[in-house]
């Protein structure tokens, strides 16, 4: 039995919905990753002195330190390091 017009339309819509989710999901992932990379970079810039990279602005990064500490902790866990990899900087 051939499906009714309505049925075809419903299936098509369903397929489109699936495709959109698939497509958006991928991009959402990419966007979220881009944002995460950017935020990681920022965190690492703020902590550069602790990583042994002399930073002439390190005095001014102090006031940003409390704002990036959580991210540092989350970052090293995400990178598969159970503890802070920085000798000069322990968050856990």
């Amino acid at each position: 039995m051939t499906p009714s017009r309505d049925e075809i339309k419903r299936r098509l819509e369903h397929a489109m919905e699936l495709l959109r989710e698939f497509y958006e999901g991928r991009h959402r992932g990419a966007l979220a990753r881009s944002r995460r990379d950017e935020d990681d970079l920022f965190m690492l810039l703020v902590l550069s002195e602790s990583m042994g990279i002399p930073n002439p602005a390190s005095y001014y990064t102090l006031e940003l330190l409390p704002l990036v500490m959580d991210r540092f902790h989350e970052w090293h866990l995400r990178m598969g390091m159970e503890h802070s990899p920085l000798d000069g900087f322990r968050c856990c």
């Binding site: 390190s58 001014y60 102090l62 409390p66």
Partner: protein, 361 residues
């Protein structure tokens, strides 16, 4: 004395409100700054004389003990010696205070350790010094002459290198905050794209006030993430505002006059040539030069006459190399400059009001 040209311009009623006196070690910066400040006070300006040299000697020249709090030296003239260590401690206290509610208490210990470490970090003292200078400059120019605490600030600075680094700080640091702000902007742009894709689901930001109350869960795109981003941006923008303000004031010839002191000797001249080039590069306006310790006229005897011949060569070199910059000469005095009276004498010489000052060369 015309008031539109250096050095009379310094005393004009619409003269610069911020003076920096710089030069190589030992050439007479403290002497010049003090004498100028006395002249300004005599002209009716309420003047604050500030030593930025970590090896302070400003108090010595007046024979008094100075601290980071202004001390009255005479009517219209106060002085202080910056205390960058105290400044650093204050800044760290503020960071500590701001971190309450931002950081899990488990992290307090590490932050405390970082703060302690950074107290001795290179650059901290300079940054703190520049912060204080910027603050003083901003507080002074915010109010019209006659209304604020001070009409004019006179900075007695440390020898060349230190001061040049100090003056370049706002520019370098502004570039640094801009770099950080750009990564924030990119992060925000990704965040916005993400919101559009998700039909605005990640768009909710918490209202003001309840920022960062749920700090323990770290999750991309969450509302607290936005609040944290906003706070970071605020901190950075406030910093940048301060750097650009300092820079604007430093570079404005209507506000700031940099006075360069040198002596007619080989190394000070070489160093001055380099320093003036650097100041030019940073577009810091050099208002004039003081050529200090020039051998006085009159019969000096054979030995000093031969010195004078040598000095004449150096003076010629100064004339040639710094032809664009107005100069005044101050003769070598028979004794060290100490105490109000001698300083007043130097002040009069500087302003061209006393004979014995050779004409501008």
């Amino acid at each position: 004395m015309t008031r539109s040209v250096f050095p009379g311009s310094l005393l004009a009623s619409d003269g610069p409100r911020i003076l920096f006196v710089g030069g190589k070690g030992g050439v007479g910066k403290t002497t010049t700054a003090s004498a100028l400040a006395l002249e300004l006070a005599r002209a009716g300006r309420r003047c604050l004389l500030v030593s930025t040299d970590p090896a302070h000697s400003l108090g010595d020249i007046f024979g008094v003990e100075l601290t980071a709090t202004p001390r009255k030296l005479r009517g219209g003239l106060h002085a202080l010696e910056l205390d960058p260590d105290r400044q650093v401690v204050r800044y760290l206290d503020q960071v500590r205070e701001n971190m309450q509610g931002l950081v899990r208490p488990a992290m307090y210990h590490e932050i405390e350790r970082q703060l302690e470490l950074s107290r001795q970090a290179p650059g901290a003292v300079e940054a703190a010094t520049m912060d204080r200078i910027s603050q003083l400059m901003a507080d002074t120019v915010r109010r019209p002459r006659g209304e604020g605490d001070w009409d004019v600030l006179v900075f007695d600075t440390a020898p060349t290198g230190h001061t040049l680094r100090l003056l370049s700080l706002p520019e370098i640091m502004a570039a640094w905050t801009d770099g950080l702000l750009r990564t924030r902007q990119r992060s925000d742009a990704w965040g916005r794209a993400l919101e559009r894709l998700s039909g605005g689901r990640a768009a909710e930001a918490p209202g003001e006030g309840d920022e960062l109350s749920y700090i323990d869960q770290v999750e991309e795109g969450g509302g607290h993430q936005d609040a944290r981003s906003r706070r970071i941006r605020e901190v950075l923008l406030e910093r940048r505002r301060k750097f650009t303000r300092a820079r604007r004031l430093l570079l404005d010839p209507a506000v700031t006059a940099f006075i360069w002191v040198l002596i007619p000797e080989k190394l000070p001249i070489l160093e001055s040539e380099k320093a003036i080039r650097t100041l030019d590069e940073h577009r810091v306006p050099v208002a004039g030069m003081v050529v200090n310790r020039v051998l006085p006229r009159g019969d000096l005897g054979a030995f000093l006459e031969s010195r004078r011949a040598q000095e004449e060569e150096y003076l010629a070199r100064i004339r040639k190399h710094f032809s664009r910059i107005p100069r005044i000469q101050v003769p070598l005095l028979a004794r060290d400059v100490e105490g109000m009276e001698t300083l007043e004498q130097v002040g009069r010489i500087l302003m061209g009001g006393e004979r014995g000052s050779p004409p501008p060369g």
